[in-house]
């Protein structure tokens, strides 16, 4: 089996090899990028828009990204910026609310209810704090990796994690036991 393609080889390669390499990355990462986008924005249609935009941007810059090990970080950074930037626009600007829509009790199954409750609760968390929570708890990044994606310090990630969880708990109340503070 052939090993991973080195950047230098890609730079000298024709469009076919570039296309194959991009396709392989796309297949491997599309679903994960969509999931991240979904928790960041709370809507699957918008999540697809953001994910597709990020992949288009990646495709356009593919030859210029020399560090293939950093592709995931590049995609995460692009995605988070797009969602946070969008949240600043008035027609899409999100408003925090203390009232969580009562979808949980109407869900046909516990899994669906959990999904709705958490996604609705995340909408009440400010965008940057939400991004920290999604990167840390969905993507499984540690504090340093999260800080790198967001271009901030580790201390900022820690404080935004705490504030974000607090905002999420406030929004959800007792809806999800697993979110209650430890201790």
């Amino acid at each position: 089996m052939a090993g991973p393609v080195r950047p230098a080889e890609v730079a000298e390669a024709g469009p076919d090899l570039v296309g194959q390499e991009f396709d392989a990355y796309f297949r491997a990462r599309r679903d994960a990028v969509r999931r991240t986008a979904y928790l960041l924005c709370g809507d699957w249609h918008r999540a697809d828009d953001h994910a597709q935009s990020a992949f288009v941007a990646l495709h356009r810059h593919w030859r210029r990204i020399r560090d293939r090990d950093a592709l995931d970080a590049w995609m995460r950074r692009t995605l988070v910026r797009a969602v946070v930037d969008e949240s600043r626009r008035p027609w899409r600007r999100e408003r925090s609310t203390d009232v969580t829509p009562e979808t949980a009790s109407e869900g046909p199954a516990e899994g669906v209810a959990t999904r709705h409750v958490l996604v609705d609760g995340l909408r009440a968390v400010p965008p940057r704090q939400r991004a920290v929570l999604v990167l840390r708890f969905l993507e499984g990044l540690d504090v340093a990796a999260t800080a790198e994606v967001l271009g901030c310090s580790a201390g900022t990630v820690k404080s935004q994690t705490a504030h974000g969880l607090s905002a999420l708990r406030t929004a959800l109340g007792d809806a999800l036991d697993d979110l209650r503070p430890a201790g």
């Binding site: 828009d49 597709q52 941007a57 967001l150 201790g183």
Partner: protein, 256 residues
């Protein structure tokens, strides 16, 4: 429940919340096609802009050689540039990217019709450094209304680069694929300003299309609104070019 255990439980909740995805709305072929379309569009825009610059420079050279008849020649060249702009706008298809990219440069030619629009702070004296600032001509105005707005509008970017040359090499920032046919234009750039990095966003809305986007704003010569803002990629850091956003808006307002 200790901290690690709780983090694991929260992570499980997040994974559960992100499950149940509907079928994806795009595939690799669509991504590649969109990417190639954007690349083609930008190449066309660059080529069109280069042609327009050559035309303006050529006309300017002729005007410069005019000597005593300079004023007359300038007016004539202005008419030629104006006609070229009109032809661009009325070219087959009516909304070619090259024509749109050429618009700001064509508009930069002296206006044939008479008095130029007022330009705050732009009164270049011949031979001065400020003379390099293109004069104000026909405002760029609305973008296409027969197709989705270009979220990275080459014509608007050309104007932004005139007032903020530091962003000439900036990478395009991520944008949404929302379709707007209201004639608005936009530019989103990943910029560096000293140690500050972030995103610079400039939007133009035709008359009646401004939805109140936050940022510094000004009415434009075509009756629309220009809005600009920037934000830092690092929490607590200063937004890049924050002290020049006002200059950007003031420069663009009479040109849009």
């Amino acid at each position: 429940m200790d901290g690690d255990e709780q983090e694991a439980r929260i992570a499980a909740l997040f994974r559960e919340a992100a499950s149940g995805a509907p079928p994806p709305g795009f595939d690799a072929a669509q991504v590649a096609a969109t990417s190639r379309r954007i690349t083609r569009r930008r190449r066309s825009a660059v080529a069109g802009a280069a042609l327009a610059v050559l035309a303006v420079v050529g006309v300017g050279a002729v005007a410069g050689l005019g000597g005593p008849g300079e004023a007359t020649v300038t007016v004539a060249s202005g008419q030629a540039a104006g006609q070229a702009a009109d032809q661009n706008e009325n070219s087959a298809g009516g909304a070619g990217d090259a024509a749109r990219a050429a618009a700001p440069e064509a508009a930069a030619a002296p206006d044939a019709g008479g008095a130029p629009l007022a330009a705050p702070g732009v009164a270049p004296a011949p031979g001065s450094a400020a003379a390099a600032v293109p004069p104000i001509g026909t405002p760029l105005g609305p973008g296409p209304t027969d197709r989705c707005a270009d979220r990275q509008d080459p014509a608007l970017r050309a104007l932004v680069e005139q007032v903020l040359p530091e962003v000439a090499t900036a990478t395009e920032g991520p944008v949404t694929l929302d379709c707007s046919v209201a004639g608005d234009r936009g530019v989103s750039l990943e910029v560096h300003d000293g140690t500050s990095t972030g995103v610079l966003v400039v939007r133009y809305f035709p008359a009646g299309a401004d939805t109140g986007t936050e940022g510094q704003r000004a009415p434009t010569a075509s009756g629309g609104t220009v809005v600009a803002y920037s934000w830092a990629s690092r929490a607590g850091a200063p937004a890049p070019f924050a002290d020049r956003i006002g200059d950007v808006v003031a420069y663009l307002a009479p040109r849009l």
